[in-house]
Symmetry: C2
């Protein structure tokens, strides 16, 4: 039950790095580093039978976790998230829809997975201060887990980012500063301060372990599907770390003999106001180009250029998936539809993935009867300002 981690490698040039020292990007390519595991060794102890008796949390897959010491974990009580069937929408649309509800994690979003593993590893490597730019849920999650670990977190947030994420980071005691600018401006300040102070750079994909946390979505879903996979996994794609992580998880499980060779179609959904990966996919490009004037109500997908874009595009191509953009109006409409029809108050990104799945059903990428798993990345509570109809008034009754 110990980690089978070997080392880190660059997916662009293959350079290898020790996993037992602090690392950020590949020295040569500036690309994200990935964790390599001894999967034959992992397969000896991580079996279907052994898993059945383990704790029901993302930490149960300790062989495929980068923590050297499982006891060093930094936890806020995260449990496995449920896969919820959507019977009414399945009947309506003729596909077998279900939803993995990441809202039930600490801090209310899937960012908890990356922060839990990222902060745990940072602590294990002796980090005492970390920094990151954030527009959204990551700042709250990393703030919370850093507080839990006793690590000082420095978070730079664009002034225009949703107030609720600022609130989370402030309340959990992070050093929060605002910037009159975009996430890219915040990123430049972080880069400068990281260099000046020797802090750990926890920006998306600039350290190797966040993806290992996100990977647990894939490990869980394969086990929850009875060591099988759905026909398609539909993921709201901003930085794309979750999609990369799910793909990595499924390939590791296949190499270990825990699932078969069939991969689900990996589907990236973006908003039409910020769709760099969709554009690259449509053009057959291997990387995306920075999107100008990015905007969407679904701010989780409002990422104009993702450091891991090439990994997302490779996964989509290899699995016969697709990338698709949806309008803000439609994703909000689908958010309401899921919430009212099935009782799961999803976030706008959760609406986006349904909208994307339906678009691909019309195009034939998704077929009638397919088992389609939607990833709901956060609770709808994170968006208190979405538009909705004001309810009518009722008259008072005499006392």
């Amino acid at each position: 039950m110990t980690s089978a981690m070997i080392d880190l490698y660059c997916p662009k040039c293959g350079a290898r790095y020790s996993a037992d020292e602090r690392r950020q990007l590949c020295t040569f390519e500036g690309a994200p580093l990935l964790v390599d595991y001894d999967l034959a060794k992992a397969a000896k102890t991580m079996t279907k039978a052994s898993l059945a008796g383990r704790e029901p949390s993302m930490w149960r897959y300790s062989e495929l976790s980068p923590l050297r010491d499982p006891a060093a974990r930094v936890s806020l009580g995260e449990m496995m998230t449920p896969i919820i069937d959507l019977p009414r929408l399945s009947q309506k649309y003729g596909i077998a829809l279900s939803l993995k509800d990441e809202a039930l994690l600490p801090t209310g979003s899937f960012k908890a997975r990356g922060a839990a593993v990222g902060v745990s590893r940072a602590k294990e490597l002796g980090v005492t201060e970390l920094a990151m730019p954030t527009n959204g849920n990551a700042g709250g999650a990393w703030g919370a887990y850093a507080a839990r670990a006793g690590i000082r977190a420095h978070v730079i947030i664009p002034q225009g980012a949703p107030a609720v994420n600022r609130l989370e980071a402030v309340m959990t005691g992070a050093d929060v500063r605002l910037i009159d600018g975009l996430i890219s401006d915040a990123g430049r300040v972080v880069a400068k301060e990281v260099a000046e102070h020797g802090w750990y750079d926890a920006s998306t994909l600039k350290e190797p372990y966040r993806i290992e946390g996100k990977k647990t979505i894939g490990l869980e879903l394969a086990e929850q599907f009875g060591w099988d996979v759905p026909d398609a996994i539909v993921y709201p794609t901003g930085g794309g770390v979750g999609l990369i992580g799910i793909d990595k998880a499924l390939r590791e499980l296949y190499a270990m003999g825990l699932i078969g060779p069939r991969m689900p179609k990996m589907i990236a959904v973006q908003a039409s106001g910020c769709a760099p990966i969709v554009k690259a996919f449509d053009e057959g490009a291997k990387e995306s180009v920075m999107w100008q004037n990015a905007h969407s109500v679904a701010f989780g997908v409002n990422v104009p250029k993702a450091l891991g874009d090439f990994l997302v595009l490779e996964s989509i191509a290899r699995t016969g998936g697709a990338a698709v953009a949806v309008e803000d109006d439609e994703l909000l409409e689908r958010q309401r539809e899921i919430s009212a029809a099935e009782g799961v108050f999803v976030c706008p990104e959760g609406g986006a993935v349904l909208a994307g799945a339906l678009a691909l059903l019309r195009r034939g990428v998704i077929q009638p009867g397919d088992r389609v798993l939607l990833i709901n990345t956060a609770t709808g509570l994170k968006y208190p300002d979405i538009p909705y109809a004001t309810p009518p008034f009722v008259e008072r009754q005499g006392a």
Copy 2:
């Protein structure tokens, strides 16, 4: 693994009612009805050993659940909630503090437990429409579970109630109407419409099953404490259903031989702006008196008169507990303290229970070294409007 439910009884007059028909309050006393179980029968199959192999959710205690058909459950994927240790605060205050984090339930609050069981039983009893007044989290939770069940929910919300709860109920498709008045005005409209239309009245404690859902907090915590109980359980008390439920759970477990006779001190925390149960406790009264001009930032405890007040007061007295009021300023300060020191972004009510515990430590009701379990009833995300310091700005760096 089937329910050991026998029937319903009135805790005031002892009248008994069949559990297999729709029931609201005791016909004679107007008091809440409680569910009675055949605990000897339940003890035969609900053993420590059998539980070890069951699903990690509130549904694992099926013998002590009122669902006749376990498959009839209405679920949004709720899992057992964690008990999180608070090592820094424990060291600071000299008591062994931990926190049961109800934020990790669907809809982000402990109300999910009552709604899950209440709606499941309503569905089992053939209910197609229900109604309730709500100021807070209950409307969102019952809206969501009713949507899941295909039951029409009618929810009346005071105009001044927090917008986030209105949002949840609207999004999950409830018939939401606002009222220019207080929760008591909303309650009168519900009473009238329930009588007119034959709807099920899902108001707090006006149906017998919400408390059975809340009871699972007590079942879980006893199992999580290794079939033992802490020295004190500190609960933010509005309607008091959770406290009543925890107390009922522990007494049932004792009768079944699963825990010993020692009960934790049951401690009710209220806000000084709405403290009817504290007033009754201080005066040695058996029931509370309607609190005038109730107000608190912790709107979960802003209940001027609870239908189950006599049960709360009885539990406190029997267990050597206490009721204590805390100021809004202090509960907000403690909310920040827990969040920053331990990384758990609790709600203001979560701050209130720490404030209450510390007050009782000063009074000697809680002793140094005691194991004190705080109940955090919801995520801090449900309070996007709490006051907090605006972060400073940082200068942009050249591109």
